[in-house]
């Protein structure tokens, strides 16, 4: 870990302003991802702005009948909230499928959306990685490299990493909207669909946030109803990231929404694929995963995604 300076700003706008102003600044929320990455010198902020205690830890009801979740609401609090459990059970299920109880007690809503990939080459600073060290090459795409867990769609020749969050997959299916404050003190809304970027030639650019911009809330639109399931597939029963995860909202008429985790650089969903839901898992996946470019090691994820959805559709 490199030496860094530290401050606790007075309010969200001040935090954003300072983050844009001070070189190499980074926000600290729960710290469960940032601190690990700092210890390994994958992240080397010069200045850490602690956003805890800025009053962004409430869940409130919106006029449109949804919920507005403060960025500092912990994963535990969010998943346990009675309104979430009643109206957005998909979100509770997805959060509870992630990490561990201890981590979820610390992890925050905004931090979870911004957690970085778990690609093993990203984690080993001896290895090339375009995301960690732009231009150094992709360690996972060389001959004989280990790519079993990595992405199959939305990836590029520069990077095939996945976004590891479970929570974000549910939020994508629920059409969540990220609310921010910019360094200039303006507020902004970014639909989750547009929040995470595909890697293209610049895998180091991961989100639509501008430098210094602070997430303040995540807004959930009015409840969509239906049955809501989250199936996370992994080799061991707990404490592992998804090989594939499927978030499903299904209405009585057979329509609904599907989002996938573990396959792409962002939660993966499309309207066209949703429209195929009445036609079954195979129909959905042939649209949703059209154009997939798996490696030899992770091609199984395509079959796995389809079979996972098939199991859920049968149950739902």
């Amino acid at each position: 870990m490199r030496a860094f300076s530290y401050e606790k700003p007075a309010d969200p706008a001040a935090a954003a302003a300072r983050a844009a102003e001070v070189e190499g600044a980074k926000f600290l929320a729960g710290g469960t991802n940032l601190l690990d990455l700092m210890k390994l010198e994958i992240e080397t902020p010069l200045h850490v702005i602690d956003v805890n205690g800025l009053g962004l830890d409430e869940i409130s009801e919106t006029e449109e009948g949804g919920l507005r979740v403060g960025t500092l609401v912990t994963n535990t609090a969010l998943s346990a909230d009675s309104r979430i459990r009643r109206d957005y059970p998909l979100l509770t299920r997805a959060i509870a499928a992630g990490a561990t109880g201890q981590l979820r007690n610390k992890a925050t809503t905004g931090g979870n959306l911004l957690q970085r990939t778990r690609c093993p080459y990203f984690y080993d600073t001896n290895m090339p990685c375009n995301k960690r060290a732009p231009g150094s090459g992709c360690g996972a795409l060389t001959e004989g490299a280990f790519s079993r867990q990595l992405g199959v769609i939305g990836t590029s020749d520069a990077c095939i990493a996945t976004h590891p969050s479970d929570m974000a997959v549910a939020m994508r299916a629920l059409d969540a909207v990220v609310e921010t404050v910019t360094p200039a003190g303006m507020t902004r809304e970014i639909p989750l669909e547009e929040f995470h970027l595909l890697p293209g030639d610049t895998p180091e650019d991961e989100t639509a946030l501008m430098p210094g911009e602070l997430i303040t809330h995540v807004r959930l639109p009015a409840p969509v109803g239906g049955t809501q399931e989250y199936h996370k597939v992994r080799d061991r029963a707990s404490y592992a990231f998804a090989l594939v995860s499927v978030a499903l909202v299904r209405q009585a008429d057979g329509s609904g929404r599907v989002a996938l985790g573990g396959v792409a650089p962002k939660p993966w969903r499309s309207d066209a694929a949703d429209a195929e839901l009445p036609n079954g898992a195979s129909a959905v996946m042939s649209v949703l995963l059209d154009g997939a470019r798996p490696t030899e090691e992770n091609a199984f994820k395509i079959t796995l995604a389809e079979r996972t959805l098939a199991a859920m559709l049968k149950e739902a």
Partner: protein, 726 residues
């Protein structure tokens, strides 16, 4: 004490303490966090500074330049030692790669520098400031399958009995399949850690986490070319080893070099992401197994050929270890190949050999049972042997494998299982049941101890280690039994090179050997006490010594009495095959859609002679079963074949079983005694619990799905496209 003939009756026949369930005596220290582990020796080395290692960034090659100037002048840094400043160190016992010194890089994360600083964070930060230039070695062929193809059929067989060719020609059924087991990392909770005081460059004290004090002691002397008398080694508490801590490793070497350079004691723990590639692991194996059987289910031919890799000069993993001896069979051919590969070093891991060998052999047995249309339990029973099949004059000292299978089948409800693969379902889950046999050799090593009677207290000194296994407790029980005293009056002093040399902990030889050593020392003490009191035939009971006219409490003996002895094993044991046996039964669920596999129920039945303490023994066995679940379903060191390193080198990516993976576990110990094995008629169980577990799970997956998977771990990517249609 010479153990020169099988024991008939002795004082353990009416044991009051040995064989009784007893909570471990070091438990309170551990659960209160006060047991002093090697990295936390604030009691012994309160001024120790922090060492941090730097590992090589390439698979193999050489270092052309190192610049540590920035690190040396970084805040808090007291010393930096780079590998280019040190001549290649000598290699200690069974070290295949050099632990430090010189410009050659033999494997990824081989230690190339140590930094000493006032704080851990300063040392770690400075390590990242060292610039290193490399010249990479020529890419190596790391394909073990290709290597197996090359070596298959070459070399003299390790075992060759009868006419294998004829057996396969005339057989009613033949099985001929390839099996793969992956590299496995020990992943014990405590990484390799040491605190070393070599501040004056003269005498060295090493507080380390090591299974074998004496081997470690010798290896440190060899490595640094100094006299063993100048070194003291202590490992009173070891947070797991599984074989990873049998040998001297870089943690102690780097802490010593750092201590000498900085002139202060230094503590150093290998960072978790470095453990997998810096230290040793269990080699992957490729195995071809051919079985021939006649129509009544007798094996007529067993042909097992395997390959593992290691750095030149190493032993790899011998997956054929059990094959010469486990089952009857008229003919057999067994050969293990070790192929040189520039990868991190391979060496022993819990049940080296049998663990990976049985993963394959016990699937093959299941396949043959099916081909013969026989129950897999019955098929194994039919092929039991009471003698070494290659040397029928050599009997097993004590073997109750059949009883393990029968007791297990009954307790598990084996006869009620569904026998049609894919034929049982519980919701989305396909349910299957699997069985496998377990075998692990019963090795013993010489082991010594000193017994001291002092004011009614018995002190036992031995360099034996307790690596979480319960040695403190079973040795105290053995001493108390032999002296006719209360366990509460026994003080165990262990794992210090100042004490008599013991077997150490490994190869499940620790418990049988070290309890025998303590027994020997206590018998010597009894003799001395009796001699001092002038008693011919003394008996020791209830804390008293009686005989002739004497009847006195041991606490009334005022002066300290001390005796030292060691157990030595007579040649007569070579007239026997000695082993431990077991049977594993599991119930698994395989998700019909996703192929996720979860174990629902496990039972082990063990035949390992006298069980010295059913609580600690059970913990060993269920721990082995947990490790077997990991081996079956998730553990896999992911080799980057281009770069020659293991890419998933942390506990997030190398998946050992977690709590949620482990169901109800049952263990049955057969009430057996092996008088050939040791004076206590006991054998080890610590490794037996792992042997065969993975194959039982694989067989259960087959029973659940009808899909035979011969490559571990059984992750869904290997079979999802073969699952029954949905």
């Amino acid at each position: 004490m010479e153990f020169n003939q099988p024991v008939d009756s002795n004082l353990f026949d009416d044991a009051k303490v040995v064989g009784k369930p007893m909570q471990r005596i070091d438990g309170p220290l551990k659960v209160t966090g006060t047991a002093p582990y090697a990295y936390e020796r604030n009691d012994a080395a309160p001024d120790a500074l922090y060492g941090y290692p730097l590992g090589a960034a390439i698979g193999h090659g050489r270092i052309t330049r190192m610049d540590a100037e920035a690190a040396r002048s970084a805040p808090g840094v007291r010393a930096v030692v780079t590998t280019l400043e040190v001549d290649p160190l000598e290699k200690g016992m069974n070290n295949v790669a050099r632990l430090f010194g010189g410009d050659e890089v033999q494997h990824y994360h081989q230690a190339i520098a140590v930094i000493v600083a006032d704080t851990f964070e300063q040392a770690r930060a400075a390590s990242a400031m060292i610039e290193v230039d490399y010249e990479e070695g020529t890419p190596a062929d790391l394909d073990l399958d290709a290597a197996f193809e090359r070596v298959q059929g070459t070399g003299e067989p390790d075992t060759l009995v009868g006419d294998v060719g004829a057996a396969f020609r005339d057989a009613a059924q033949v099985i001929d399949q390839m099996y793969h087991t992956p590299g496995e990392s020990h992943t014990m909770m405590e990484p390799h850690s040491s605190t070393v005081d070599w501040s004056d460059g003269e005498n060295m004290t090493v507080w380390t986490s090591n299974q074998m004090i004496n081997w470690n002691h010798q290896s440190i002397a060899t490595t640094f070319g100094i006299d063993q008398d100048r070194i003291r080694v202590e490992s009173p508490y070891v947070g797991g080893g599984f074989g990873a801590k049998l040998w001297l490793r870089a943690d102690a070497v780097l802490a010593a070099l750092g201590s000498r350079a900085a002139g202060v004691p230094v503590k150093l723990a290998l960072p978790r992401p470095m453990v997998m590639n810096n230290t040793t692991h269990r080699s992957a194996t490729v195995q071809r197994i051919r079985l021939a059987a006649n129509a009544d289910g007798h094996l007529t031919g067993i042909w097992h050929e395997a390959a593992a890799y290691c750095l030149p000069g190493g032993r790899g993993e011998n997956a054929t270890a059990q094959t010469p001896i486990f089952y009857a069979g008229d003919s057999r051919r067994v050969k293990n190949h070790v192929v040189d590969m520039p990868l991190p070093e391979t060496a022993d891991m819990r049940a080296p050999g049998e663990a990976s060998g049985l993963m394959a052999l016990e699937i093959a047995m299941d396949e043959m049972a099916e081909a013969l249309d026989m129950d897999p339990v019955q098929f194994r029973i039919v092929n039991d042997t009471q003698v070494d099949p290659a040397n029928p004059d050599i009997p097993f000292s004590d073997r109750h494998f059949v009883e393990c299978l029968e007791r297990g089948a009954e307790a598990f409800g084996w006869s009620e299982r569904n026998t049609t693969p894919g034929g049982q379902r519980d919701g989305d889950w396909l349910i299957g049941h699997g069985v496998a046999g377990a075998y692990r050799g019963a090795l013993v090593l010489p082991s010594g101890a000193r017994a001291i009677l002092d004011g009614g207290k018995l002190i036992i000194e031995t360099d034996m280690t307790d690596i979480g296994t319960g040695s403190y407790t079973i040795l105290a029980q053995t001493a108390a039994e032999t002296m006719g005293m209360d366990v509460a009056d026994v003080e165990m002093r262990m794992a210090n090179s100042a004490y008599p040399v013991s077997s150490g902990s490994g190869g499940q030889f620790g418990a049988p050997s070290s309890t025998s050593g303590v027994y020997a020392a206590c018998m010597a003490l009894r003799e001395k006490i009796a001699g001092n009191l002038g008693i011919d035939e003394a008996s020791f009971n209830g804390g008293r010594v009686t005989g002739g006219d004497t009847d006195m409490a041991l606490s009334e003996i005022n002066e300290e009495v001390s005796a030292e002895d060691a157990i030595q094993w007579g040649d007569f044991q070579q007239g026997y095959a000695m082993g431990t046996f077991g049977a594993h039964f599991v119930e698994v669920g395989v998700h019909a859609y996703t192929g996720e596999t979860r174990v629902r129920r496990m039972l082990a039945v063990c035949d390992a002679g006298r069980i010295i303490n059913p609580i600690t023994a059970r913990s060993q066995v269920i721990g082995g079963m947990v490790m077997g679940v990991g081996a079956a379903l998730s553990e896999d060191m992911a080799l980057d074949r281009g770069r020659g390193f293991f890419a998933n080198h942390d506990m997030a990516n190398y998946e050992v079983a977690v709590h949620a993976d482990i169901p109800e576990q049952d263990v049955i110990f057969l009430d057996t005694l092996d008088g050939v094995a040791t004076p206590l008629k006991a054998k080890g169980v610590g490794e037996l619990g792992l042997c065969g577990v993975a194959a039982a799970i694989a067989n259960g997956v087959y029973n659940a799905t009808g899909v035979r998977v011969r490559d571990y771990p059984l992750t869904m990517d290997k079979f999802i496209d073969r699952l029954p249609a949905i």
